[in-house]
Symmetry: D2
Subunit: 179 residues, 4 copies
Amino acid sequence: MTVRTPDPNSGWLSDDELASIRLRLPLLYVEAIPVRVDGMGQVIEVGLLLRATSVGGMKRSIVSGRVMYGETLRHALFRHLEKDLGPMAFPLLPASPTPFHAAEYFPTPGVSAFTDDRQHAVSLAYVVPVTGTCDPRQDALEITWLTPQEAASAAVSDEMEGGRGILLRAALASVGRLG
Amino acid sequence: MTVRTPDPNSGWLSDDELASIRLRLPLLYVEAIPVRVDGMGQVIEVGLLLRATSVGGMKRSIVSGRVMYGETLRHALFRHLEKDLGPMAFPLLPASPTPFHAAEYFPTPGVSAFTDDRQHAVSLAYVVPVTGTCDPRQDALEITWLTPQEAASAAVSDEMEGGRGILLRAALASVGRLG
Amino acid sequence: MTVRTPDPNSGWLSDDELASIRLRLPLLYVEAIPVRVDGMGQVIEVGLLLRATSVGGMKRSIVSGRVMYGETLRHALFRHLEKDLGPMAFPLLPASPTPFHAAEYFPTPGVSAFTDDRQHAVSLAYVVPVTGTCDPRQDALEITWLTPQEAASAAVSDEMEGGRGILLRAALASVGRLG
Amino acid sequence: MTVRTPDPNSGWLSDDELASIRLRLPLLYVEAIPVRVDGMGQVIEVGLLLRATSVGGMKRSIVSGRVMYGETLRHALFRHLEKDLGPMAFPLLPASPTPFHAAEYFPTPGVSAFTDDRQHAVSLAYVVPVTGTCDPRQDALEITWLTPQEAASAAVSDEMEGGRGILLRAALASVGRLG
């Protein structure tokens, strides 16, 4: 039997290595807010994922994940959309690679509007229309579609972690659908 | 036989009235650069219209037209896309209503990078992916699909009027495809 | 006594003419949200104007005004900033002419998030840091400086007309200061 | 004699560690194109740094550097501006934290428009007006101020490494000064 040793140059990181790097360098993430648009391109619904938390509760979240070594932002975005929404979501990635916001997550509250107790992460965030059927994978239990008004509510923000309610409202503002 | 008199509140303008207003007020336009994108949202082709000029020559242009009274920017954009590209172009209007550029056209050269000898116009410009078949209408003879590199060339700019070659390069820059 | 006849090409419009055009064409506006920034460019305060309304009440507003024939967006922005904030405000106009939002005001509610019972107007909106002393002019009684949190509150939105509370929150989102 | 051991949680990285991480993770950078603006905020000059290369030649570059663990994007931007332009440059950091472009540098040419043979880096790029006196530090020999037209030329692009001529033209496009 052959045990495969990870290629040290491969971008593969063991849990220990990642844990160590997380205390030394800001990590690069992409995040996506899935939306449905009408025939004129206007956002009419926002998709939020429901996940179980480690302490047995539930929280709402958005599509989120790390950019790997050698991977373009577009490929990272596509990979995480497929991972979280399934292969039939048919996302329409934006023609422009400029995020609507660069969200800065710090372990310590108060440095910015966003927190992540695991690490310092900088996340490039995008609004992504999806045209197919979403079938949440992995740890997401379901996707809920809300109107822009519902998504912007304080009640929804309270169910999101790390300040992502603020990011969600910024996403709505960027597509002219806040308030 | 009934002669219909235009409703003075309708937004309808006679040629004389429009000619008069053109010397008194900036007019609001929308412009669109039609593009084709790959499965990752990346722009791979740019569509330019070929039109006959009043002096018997040919020029390349983009989708362009006035915003009417009571009309949203999205509806104006959609109407002009359909007028110039036909009903089967299936444009994907952007979720964000913010233009990549607000182009200012003045009758006098040198005020800005853009000129229009008929009027002072301010044009909100968008990059719009199209997914169907383009069948140019009205005064446009055909649509030509160019690579981003071709579209950014000096040769193509020279065939465009009013500085639209600059607008085209700004469009390419906004989608990360300039150079 | 000499009666001066307006030059028909001057961009000058009588009240009657403007009233007539307001029912026929969308008018182009610029709007500015004055802010104070710290040494790192971060917005720390937002300036709102207090104006008397025609019905004897008070409302909060932002810098706003029409773009004249032949005038660049920058000059219109500067002129209205000086008119509303006085000559010592020393605004820092943005290097980028792209607005953070193109706000569409319609006489009829429900067409968009913004209303203006006088007209259909499209307003290019900017966040503008000011570095000097603001001394409101004309019909503005005073300028009040609020924190981003205060400016984003429902109480402040309720004191603004035509949906400008939404525009204010979009402005805060565009500078990463919403919530 | 006391040998100081780096705190493993400090964000400090030895050359070996950094070399190892460079082959495993994308690194986060900020880049700034220093500009001078006129009283209306319009960009009139672009500042390029001249640096000696490791092979004895010269190249033009922009302000660029890594974001450290625990550091905000604004602080990283400010730190690198000060390092490259000196303490009297008085940069005006943008109110908006959204970059005009997220430039992706890969060791392998062809993945994107940008290359960096040391690493995979993602750089958030900003146009930053400076109001003081620039006094290049460290390895930069001087700063040269060019007009937007000169900065956009092919001759200047040829003197820049890693595709930064493209980034420079995208910067000019983002402030309406390309061509």
